[in-house]
């Protein structure tokens, strides 16, 4: 959506190839770029509580990450089946790949049976518009099989396989994401403690994120896609957000998933409790009504995440921030550095 508008030297950006812990940093030791309009500051993530106001409210995603990458085998040989979204206990959308660094789709006929994580499975329908995704039907308990045989979904840029525990955020309560809602990863117990000490509260939503491979430049034609994902905005969270607004506080979303959930729960009468699936795609033509600020990572060109950022901040400010992030050596991807976007 905003590709081409952001003149950023994308190819010079750094990629985080491992968790910051591998470099001797704590989770909250990653860098934090702070944008207020065109003004930029460079911090560490642990400075976050001092950068917010006591009247601010953080909204976090409490979705936990599944070991969603399953070993699979068809008549033609082994492959990976990365579960993206559960529609029914036995019906899932998933991505077939040859390996972490080798995208699919793996050739599989409609109705062709194969084995995944020890279960019989078959491809039952293509997913509209995305060759790599399809609907699959399993015989048996998929979640149990996943916990026994699955691992976290990873892509070729990671230097080592990372255990599932290192993907879970401190807010994770309800498992269901194919890939970690990564904006929450740098939050630690000591950050929550200093937020609490400053009187800053946080409230949860749930949005179970699907596979992100579509955002990773493997398939230029479907990069703008968002596809349906399960979400829930609880009534207590709605009340807390409304109280914050009434008292002049700011609502700061932790992650693009939070923005998508809040926007999806906003009707003509304003924000309300909601539960279902959302395919909301935010961009400058569909500006956001629910969040004043955003804690997020650094996103790739042409990704739906970057379009969402452009719904919150002017493209010129984003360009400035991203040019600084590249120049200062900020790291991209799920284990990389963070970006706090506040109103100017």
């Amino acid at each position: 959506m905003i590709e081409g508008e952001l003149a950023v030297p994308w190819s010079s950006r750094l990629e985080a190839v491992a968790p910051p812990e591998d470099r001797g940093l704590a989770r909250d030791g990653v860098r934090l770029l702070v944008s207020r309009g065109d003004a930029l500051e460079h911090h560490r993530f642990r400075d976050l509580p001092q950068l917010l106001r006591p009247s601010d409210l953080l909204v976090v995603n409490q979705s936990g990450t599944w070991p969603a990458s399953l070993p699979a085998r068809s008549e033609r040989g082994p492959f990976l089946l990365n579960l993206s979204t559960r529609y029914a206990p036995e019906v899932w959308v998933a991505e077939s790949r040859f390996g972490p660094a080798e995208p699919g789709p793996v050739p599989l006929g409609l109705g062709e049976q194969f084995e995944a994580a020890g279960l019989r499975a078959e491809r039952i329908a293509p997913f509209p518009g995305v060759d790599r995704l399809a609907f699959y039907r399993f015989r048996g308990d998929v979640e149990a099989a996943m916990r026994r045989h699955g691992g976290p979904i990873r892509y070729g840029y990671l230097a080592r396989p990372v255990p599932l525990a290192e993907y879970q955020t401190i807010f994770a309560r309800v498992d269901g994401s194919a890939e970690m809602p990564s904006a929450g990863r740098p939050f630690t117990a000591r950050i929550l403690e200093s937020l609490r000490a400053r009187g800053i509260r946080w409230v949860p939503i749930t949005l179970h994120a699907g596979v992100s491979s579509l955002e990773r430049g493997d398939a230029p034609s479907d990069r703008q896609l968002t596809y349906p994902e399960p979400f829930e905005v609880p009534a207590e969270t709605v009340q807390r957000i409304e109280r914050t607004r009434r008292t002049g506080g700011r609502v700061i979303a932790v992650g693009t998933t939070v923005v998508r959930a809040l926007e999806s729960a906003t009707g003509p009468g304003g924000l309300r409790a909601a539960r279902g699936f959302t395919q909301a795609f935010l961009h400058p033509g569909r500006p956001m009504r629910t969040a004043d600020g955003l804690v997020t990572g650094l996103h790739d060109r042409g990704s739906s995440h970057l379009s969402l950022l452009a719904a919150l901040a002017p493209a010129a400010s984003l360009e400035r921030a991203y040019r600084a992030a590249v120049a200062e050596g900020y790291a991209w991807h799920e284990f990389g550095d963070s970006h706090l976007i506040l109103p100017s």
Binding site: Y87, A88, V91, V93, G109, L110, G111, E122, I124, A125, P126, F127, P128, G129, F135, R137, Y227, P228, F231, A235, S264, A265, A273, A274, R275, G276, F277, T278, Q279, A280, F281
Partner: protein, 246 residues
């Protein structure tokens, strides 16, 4: 009636030879449903049936006929009797009326009657003949609506009125059949590139419209919900979000 025996779930889909109905048939067969499918044109219907039986190893009963014909509906009832259950009924068969579409004020009473017979009277009558089987499975009835039911679009008055009436019939049936354990929803699939749309728009280029397959994630979601949570609601398949009531 005896309790339901284990075995494959059964879906009845009208207008299943092409477009949205064919897409839904293929998906439900993939989910393991045995199917009872109907359409006016028997040859493409039988072709679909053979393909789904081969690909997904399910039973498919293909019945050619017009849903407005009581004898056709009796055949659907006999097929349900053989299958001994109906978990899902999709009332998808629709009549657009004479094309090119004319202004509502010029619509002939007979065209009005034909459209109403297929789009309003027949879906209700099919629910009536399948009622015991739907009740036995605590089944879901999906009435396929249209944004023409709400739009007030010039030329779409007859079709739109029939779909608006079907929306009302859906919420009424939902209330009346709740005690039977039958759930009823209306679904507006949104603009699609189908044969029916092409007939409505004549030579206009519809290539910018999504194919019926674009709505598949919605249907996969819908069929996975507990039906009683949704009963009485109207959904838009191409909306930004699909919600279940809290």
């Amino acid at each position: 009636m005896a309790p339901i025996e284990p075995g494959a779930r059964v879906a009845v889909i009208t207008g299943a030879s092409r477009g949205l109905g064919a897409m839904l048939g293929g998906f439900l067969a993939g989910e393991g449903y045995d199917l009872i499918i109907t359409a006016r044109d028997g040859a493409p219907l039988r072709e679909r049936a053979e393909r789904w039986q081969r690909d997904f190893r399910v039973r498919v009963d293909a019945i050619a006929g017009n849903v407005a014909d009581p004898e056709h509906r009796a055949e659907i009832e006999r097929a349900a009797r053989r299958a001994r259950r109906v978990d899902v009924l999709v009332n998808n068969a629709s009549e657009l009326g004479p094309t090119p579409l004319s202004a509502l004020i010029d619509a002939s009473p007979s065209a009005f009657a034909d459209v109403m017979a297929v789009n309003l009277v027949a879906p209700i009558a099919i629910v009536r003949v399948l009622r015991p089987w739907l009740a036995r499975s605590s089944g879901l009835v999906v009435n396929v609506s249209s944004d023409a039911a709400r739009g007030g679009y010039p030329g779409w008055g007859v079709y739109g009125a029939s779909k608006a009436a079907l929306d009302l019939a859906s919420s009424t049936l939902a209330a009346e059949l709740r005690a039977d354990g039958i759930s009823v929803v209306a679904v507006d699939p949104g603009d699609m590139r189908t044969d029916m749309a092409q007939r409505a728009f004549g030579d206009a280029d519809l290539s910018g419209r999504p194919p019926p397959e674009a709505t598949l994630p919605f249907w996969a979601w819908l069929f996975a919900q507990p039906p009683e949570r949704l009963s009485g609601r109207r959904f838009e398949a191409q909306a930004e979000a699909w919600e279940v009531p809290a």
